[in-house]
Amino acid sequence: MSLTRFLPVPSDRMGILWSLLNIEDSVIVEYGPAGTTHFSMSLFGELGIEQENRLFTTHLREDDVVMGDTSRLEKALVEVDNNFHPSVIFVSASSCSAVIGTDLRGVCTMIKPKVNARLVAFEQGGFRGDYSAGIRETYRLLAEQIAESGVPKRAGTYNIIGASVGSYRCKADMLETERLMREAFGMEPHARLCLETDLERIRTMGGAEINLVMRGEALDAARMLESKCGTPYVCGAPYGYAGTLAWLESVGKTLGREPAPALVGELKKRAAEAMQYKMYGRMLRRDRPQALLYGDCETVRGLGEFLESIGITPARRISIHNLSTLETPPEGIEYLPTERDRMELLRGMQRTLILVDDTSRRLADSSNTYMRISTPVIDGAQVATHMPVMGPRGADMLMEYVEAYFNTLK
């Protein structure tokens, strides 16, 4: 990496913070310069995250950096514990404390007798990878340190692991997933890691019948919960019509139940209708339909498979985040290490369906057809929570762009 002209990929620390801020009854204390906390407010506000009485900074002075004095953090932890009585205080490192090597876990252990809240330390200061690494660590630590074993089973419930508010249409996607689960199996969600959930739900998530692992970063957590609580899990997210059906069948297989026939029938019908685009593609004289996808790896995988199934070849499938976080990255998905690589790729695209973020759209010329599937959102805002990228509703939306794309081809 060298020159960065646009927004960099958010760091591990940023992924951790936007995940933890979605957990009610907890407080985050950042051990670092106050300016970073203040600066973060606009991004978190844009992501719809409340920060008041949830996020605090200790600030750092030169003495703390030079001498390694952590008394400022210790006092802040005792104070937050006394003033807000949270069940858990997440103690977050900053780039400064990570570089000087502050032993946050050690501080938590030392201060533990003086506080009632459980202390969970996140020592990532922004140098252990991008947000993908951060959310993976968050899911893992929540499963390891907050979720309890021996919780009574609650029939008809499931957990979602892998929601990330940094992802485009995260909330809409979770609502679509929940709608599918309700219609297919009559089940209701319990904990959502990490979207609008709370500590009690995470503590008792071992009572759910199944864990839905929506992205590769959540796999560690799911395995931990399987071994700790005996909860089975299913990997992958529902994209496209046939993809959603396959996903529901996979969930049903694990649950030992069949998805509701009406929903299955509807998905089969829509999948068959979408297949007509294969034929439209073959009828073109000049062009061959192709797509470029750039976004979260799981989104790119799911939408890429859907497009391929309807005759639009994904020319390139690019993950916005580093793939090294994933145990087995899906085949055919690349990660471009420099911004220049992405600029050159997009500037070379013509008459292509580009499913990307707003920055990438601006790099591509107007012969392409654009649909946003990834953050950052620069042109406009995310408001609707009924317009997912996942599920049949997401596929419906994509089909509108596919239709518009075919209108540009000859």
Binding site: F6, P8, F39, N53, E62, T359
Partner: protein
């Protein structure tokens, strides 16, 4: 949280001997905390047309700063003048100068900017890369002015040093010129100088405006800044540059901050025109009379109105002293510190009241203070609904950031009076509906 207990940790204004030690934060855990000097540097570079800002820092520092600039025409939007070199674990171990050099080569190949500010952040300052030397070397290699600006937040309390260091770094861009009778404006952070009363007065008097740092100027104007007859320092952040220019070019400077007290404004005008060796414009007498009338008329509405001072674009203690002179009651003042220049205002305040003093930018615990002090007004940024629920009216003064001269007095009194009236309605329950 117990508001009384929080207040018991604070000292009153009369008890402050050493501001660095005696002005305490309400709590150890703060929210939202102060802005960082990196943001200050960005505020300054925004106003220097043609200059590029290259941040050397973490993904996070770069992200937030870029995020702040992408909707700004001054910056050029998403593809604009705010760029970065993001550092990783490898750079922490082995240094990041080589990476910056490579990025700089890309920058020069693509854009060839007229000047570049290399803005370092906390981490490169901790690892100790020498970016002053790197800036000199890059400047020599590419024949473009490159200035290093250091913005580590752990060595300062807020964003102002970032603005100050960036405009002070512009000294390196200045070339010796023959004096042309113009004035430079140093330290205006908000608004456009052209829109101020001071600008109109100078224009009427036939005084040309030279460089305006950082409120919007070109690099060519900075190159010629030494041609000025006088530097007008409109905020403390302009002082280091003014002092350097005085030493190197002999340019005198006058201090003309965003004063609210008409007497202070009059002194600033008199001082400025004395240095300009021009008669005091006649219109100033009318403007002063208008400001004094506004202050006088405000007394009736504001006498006995209690307030907590959070932040305004004005000098904290000068504004509080002025409000106290109107009969208002300062209960608590949030500030970054108390300097020598504040001494007279502090004395003035103490003749009326002895408010609590605390560090600014920590609004989270303030809600418990409201329950104890029950102020009628809050000056500054806060959650408006939270204030209303506590029966407090918010005084908005951001527009004052773009004002200089007697216009500040009238505007400030008007905002105070409007808020006092709103406060009455809130307490009656009217505005809550």
């Amino acid at each position: 949280m117990d508001g009384n207990e929080l207040l018991s940790r604070l000292k009153r204004l009369s008890e402050i001997d050493d501001p660095r030690k005696d002005i305490h934060s309400l709590t150890y855990a703060q929210f939202p905390g102060t802005h960082c000097p990196l943001m200050g540097a960005a505020m300054a570079v925004r106003g220097i047309d043609g200059a590029v800002m290259m941040i050397i820092g973490t993904d996070e520092c770069s992200y937030y700063t870029k995020h702040m600039t992408i909707y700004s025409d001054d910056w050029g939007g998403l593809d604009g003048r705010c760029l970065s070199v993001t550092i990783d674990q490898h750079d922490i171990t082995f240094g990041c100068v080589k990476k910056v050099e490579a990025a700089f080569a890309e920058l020069m190949a693509e854009r060839r900017p007229e000047a570049v500010f290399l803005v370092t952040t906390c981490v490169p300052e901790i690892i100790g890369d020498d970016f002053d030397a790197a800036a000199d070397a890059l400047s020599e290699q590419y024949g473009v002015p490159v200035m290093a600006v250091h913005t580590e937040h752990f060595k300062c309390e807020n964003h102002m040093p970032g603005v100050e260091r960036t405009i002070t770094a512009c000294f390196g861009l200045m070339q010796p010129c023959e004096q042309d009778g113009s004035v430079n404006v140093l330290g205006q952070r908000m608004g456009r100088f052209e829109d101020t009363e001071l600008s109109r007065v100078l224009e009427s008097a036939g005084v040309r405006i030279g460089a305006r740092l950082p409120s919007g100027c070109t690099l060519a104007e900075i190159h010629r800044a030494s041609a000025a007859k006088v530097n007008i320092v409109v905020n403390d952040i302009g002082l280091p540059l003014a002092k350097k220019m005085k030493q190197r070019f002999g340019t005198p400077y006058v201090f003309f901050d965003k004063f609210v007290e008409p007497r202070h404004i009059a002194e600033a005008y008199e001082n400025l025109f004395a240095f300009l060796e021009r008669p005091l414009p006649m219109e100033l007498a009318d403007l002063r009379a208008e400001a004094e009338k506004a202050a006088e008329s405000g007394k009736a509405a504001l006498r006995g109105v209690s307030f907590i001072y959070g932040n305004t674009p004005f000098r904290a203690f000068e504004a509080c002293a002025f409000m106290a002179s109107l009969g208002m009651e300062p209960q608590l003042v949030q500030c970054h510190g108390i300097g020598e220049a504040d001494a007279e205002d502090v004395r003035q305040i103490l003749t009326h009241a002895d408010p609590y003093i605390t560090q600014s930018a920590n609004i989270s615990p303030m809600q418990y203070i409201y329950d104890v002090l029950r102020p009628q007004l809050y000056l500054g940024h806060e959650y408006p609904m939270r204030l209303r629920k506590k029966g407090i009216a918010q005084v908005h003064t951001d527009m004052g950031g773009g004002m200089l001269g007697y216009e500040v007095t009238g505007y400030f009194v008007k905002q105070l009076a409007a808020a006092a009236e709103e406060g009455k309605n809130i307490r009656k329950g009217g505005a809550m509906q």
